[in-house]
């Protein structure tokens, strides 16, 4: 969806400059998710669907709280429930609200070939513009968190917008507004990092979570969603959160060396053939009688 008051700093599949690049200084916004105070109530899931008018999808029941196995094109915000057995044999819940991480270096945007189908605003929000989406699904391969999902009917890809429409009006995202425990916070990246580090310190010093820490992976340039984890050394425990996410190797090869090699080869080939014709010309000349009795072609 188009956000008139938000300026764009990165555009997918775009040749040329970007209107918002270096034009305006703005706070990078950030969502803080404190997994240690999440109670798994799914209020954020409901708020997300309500605000974004998402059609309801079918749930599944497999004797767990996980009534949706994964995010879907029409389900952008999902709490992942993980039963974790501690070293002393006791159980604990690791609940993580999963959604788009709004990477500073978005792999989806790098992989997208359609001009303007994915944009990054100057406040850091990565937003899909479905009007420009061509449905190739390349963004799906570019995401280290497996977030973008295709609507099989319209062949357009959807994901969490960080409620860019609300943020552009100075409001917090819908999920933040709905959280009853206060485990969700929204503000500038600096403030959220500060708050997250303080909470992690508190967990380490007063709550017997010596490994507690903040998840803000540097491999994708940092994220617009940061987590406080009980055990930041094992993010995989939280429903497969990658410990060191990167823009995938395939996108890097494809948009890096392969692209350059291909472009040089294609242009070089055209120039080479033209020069070859200038130097050697056709194999037989027109005045050589190679096609007697027939039209010259």
């Amino acid at each position: 969806m188009s956000q008139a008051t938000l300026r764009v700093q990165k555009i997918s599949g775009h040749a040329g400059s970007v209107p918002g690049e270096d034009a305006q200084r703005e706070y990078t916004v950030c969502k803080l998710i404190d997994t240690t105070t999440c109670i798994g109530c799914k209020a954020c899931e409901v708020a997300c669907m309500e605000w974004n008018d998402l059609p309801f999808g079918e749930t599944v029941f497999d004797n767990t709280y996980q009534t949706m196995p994964e995010t879907r094109w029409n389900y952008w915000n999902l709490i992942l429930f993980n039963e974790h057995e501690k070293d002393d044999g006791s159980l604990m819940w690791l609940m993580r609200k999963n959604q788009c991480m709004h990477c500073a270096e978005p792999g989806c945007l790098a992989a997208c070939p359609a001009d303007g189908a994915i944009v990054q605003y100057t406040n850091g929000i990565v937003d899909f513009q479905q009007a420009n989406c061509i449905g190739c699904g390349y963004c799906i391969t570019g995401c280290p968190f497996d977030i973008p999902k295709m609507n099989p009917k319209t062949h357009r890809v959807f994901k969490c917008t960080l409620c860019s429409d609300r943020v552009s009006e100075g409001l917090e995202p819908a999920c933040i507004k709905s959280c009853p425990t206060g485990c969700l916070h929204f503000g500038s990246k600096d403030d959220m990092k500060d708050l997250a580090e303080k909470r992690a310190k508190q967990l380490r010093e007063h709550y017997n979570f010596p490994q507690a820490g903040v998840y803000d992976p540097a491999g994708v340039g940092g994220t617009g969603v940061v987590y406080v984890l009980h055990d930041a050394t094992k993010p995989e425990l939280y429903g497969g959160l990658p410990s060191d996410p990167h823009v995938p190797w395939s996108v890097k090869i494809w948009k890096g060396p392969l692209k350059w090699l291909g472009n040089v080869a294609m242009v070089g080939g055209l120039v080479g053939l033209f020069v070859h014709y200038l130097r050697f010309g056709p194999k037989a000349r027109e005045d050589e009688d190679i096609n007697p009795g027939g039209p010259k072609s």
Binding site: P113, A114, M266, I290, N291, P292
Partner: protein, 220 residues
Amino acid sequence: MNHSDQIVPHGHILRYNFRERLTHWVAGFSYVYLLLTGLAFWSPWCFWIAALLGGGQVSRMLHPWAGLIFAGAVFYMYGMWAPQMRGTNADKAWWKAVRYYSTNQDDKMPPAGRYNAGQKFLFWGFFWSCLLLLLSGAVLWSPQYFPLHSLLALRIAILIHASAALFTIGLFMIHLYMGLFAERGAFGSVIRGDVSLAFAKRYHPGWYEEITGQTTSPKK
């Protein structure tokens, strides 16, 4: 074997029959569409091509279907031509002398049959690339039909699809150059179907002998 039916009036030989010509152009037109839309997806600098051809969505929607048509034509060609495209000892000699071929000293080339070694390379290059493009393309197409997806398969498929496509672009440029510019008479052979006796004698002496039963003039 009697080939006299391939000798047509006015000193011409039939090189490609109607079935061969039609298949060639089904492959040709579908390939050009695939090339143009593919280039649009390849680089933002070429995305305007998609706009010209009806927009990104239309290009994305038709590209895979055009791919099926192209693959169908290529596999039909395989059925028609594969036996004639088998490598021979003469092909090895041809590759050794390829510098004469590329500098238009065709009289120094070892005699070629209906297809010279370069044409065989083009055929097999397109055939195997087409197979890779079809398989990787099917993987890339699948998310529209199967919600279950394998990210690893998609990632590998993108690289294979782009690499194989680039290889065919190289083949295609040389093919176009030879057919339109370098070998006068070659384009007509795939439109009207025939070439002059002199053309056959000059570029495909082995084939000329087979059809006419006459030996070509001794080499210098």
